[in-house]
Symmetry: C2
Subunit: 281 residues, 2 copies
């Protein structure tokens, strides 16, 4: 049975702060302190978020701050791994991120497609490698109790970052790869997709996350020019309404990858995210 859409303002209990919003290079304690002071209790670390401190120390610090991790970013190299050494590295990276996610208590790891390999011009080949890699990692994921969540990226990064470009395609691949393979939905990557009214309900039972960042007009960089919610054109409440009508009740994860944003102070970024989250999402 469909649940009625809920277009009302969100409370901070629904927010997961994706630490990609703060970019690389900030001390872990500074990041966790700022989030905790702002009332944020759920985070999504990137590997760079905990690399300097070490994953165990980062996990302890999270617990001291009363925080949980909803997800970890990310497994990223499978599609482009077209040589045996690249394939071994990609699988090793996948296992390591899954182990780290388990130690952080995260329930899922995001998997992006990766790009076409340098020597190949075939998206189909990259997509087949991704499917094989996800199947190969699925057993380890089950054994550590962390789900794999396939994320379609925006078609503008299909060549070099994400060979999976639509939600329908991510769903098809997840269905091929196994019953317990999930999906991460990112409004920034998929807001333009005319098939969403069909593919969101179709993917609902596998939906493990829902990310937000706004599409700026003009957009000046294909990777690091995402906008704060409300500064662009995406209707988040409409998209959230579709996901919730299909049964999604999990976190709304704020992932604003922005080189301009990253130049600001930690406190300032966190404050802006909190304000816009409750006002625009």
């Amino acid at each position: 049975m469909a649940i009625a859409p809920d277009p009302t303002a969100l409370g901070l209990d629904r927010l997961s702060m994706n630490l990609g919003t703060l970019g690389p290079g900030r001390p872990a304690d500074e990041v966790l302190d700022a989030c905790a002071r702002a009332g944020i209790r759920t985070i999504t670390p990137w590997r760079y978020s905990y690399e300097a401190a070490g994953v165990s120390a980062f996990a302890r610090s999270m617990r001291r701050h009363g925080m949980v991790a909803s997800s970890v970013c990310r497994i990223a190299r499978l599609g482009g791994a077209d040589t045996p050494p690249a394939w071994r590295n990609a699988i090793e990276e996948g296992r390591a991120v899954l182990d780290e996610a388990a130690e952080l208590g995260a329930s899922s790891v995001t998997v992006i497609g990766g790009g076409m390999a340098d020597g190949s011009r075939s998206l189909d080949d990259a997509r087949a490698r991704l499917r094989d890699g996800v199947q190969q990692l699925a057993g380890h994921a089950r054994s550590v109790g962390v789900a794999l969540a396939l994320e379609p990226l925006h078609p503008m990064v299909a060549a070099d970052r994400g060979c999976i470009s639509t939600l329908a395609q991510a769903l098809e691949l997840a269905e091929q790869a196994g019953d317990d393979i999930g999906i991460m939905f990112d409004c920034y990557n998929s807001w333009w997709d005319p098939a969403l009214p069909r593919s969101i309900p179709a993917a609902a039972s596998r939906l493990l996350g829902f990310q937000v960042a706004d599409w700026l007009v003009p957009t000046q960089d294909l990777v690091l020019d995402r906008g704060l919610m409300g500064d662009g054109v995406i209707d988040f409440r409409h998209l959230r309404g579709m996901a919730e009508a299909a049964g999604y009740a999990g976190c709304i994860e704020v992932e604003i990858l922005s080189s301009r944003f990253w130049q600001q102070e930690t406190e300032s970024i966190v404050a802006q995210v909190v304000e816009r989250f409750t006002g625009c999402c």
Copy 2:
């Protein structure tokens, strides 16, 4: 019955030079002379290609050079026309471009979606306006003997230029708008689309054009950083094979919108296009 794909090199008889490859500001005679000397006999003018000379003088010059126009670019404002004056302007522009295309002897005019209106954040509204506008222009198109060809643009320009983002969506809209509404397929805009193996055959009977420009890695501008065929990652022969297997036998139109390309001499651009067309398409 499906025609077997033809992955062999193309002859210049299949080439249509989209004059957007040469950019605005070049004298019409310089452009037509350079194309004619290179053996190009089919062109696709933009409005700026003939505005300075006037459409009648441009048409005469085309005939003197033994040239024909395959298509004209373009009707572009329907999706964004959310006020009565903007709507009237968009429809007037549409009628004018159709009249000009008829005078140039072109068989079709490309119609892009236009962006979301400034005051609106609804792609659905923009798409509905586009459908209404195409329906409204269809009678005039028939009366002047020129077909409307809907072109899906890349999702990265959905907000501000083209609210139609996939071939499947263009086909759905064409089917709603009328039996004689065609489709323009642009490899640059659609190469990433995982649905092409289904949507190209589905759209085949309406396919009025097939455009090429390469996807560069990295891409540094969302509009004017297209690449010469062979400088990027798109497998044109694979895509052309799909279109030809579905029955397409028309022009292959070279449309390289590139601010870097536009800085070069007319002769040089034309020579590079001819070389890469036969080598890579």
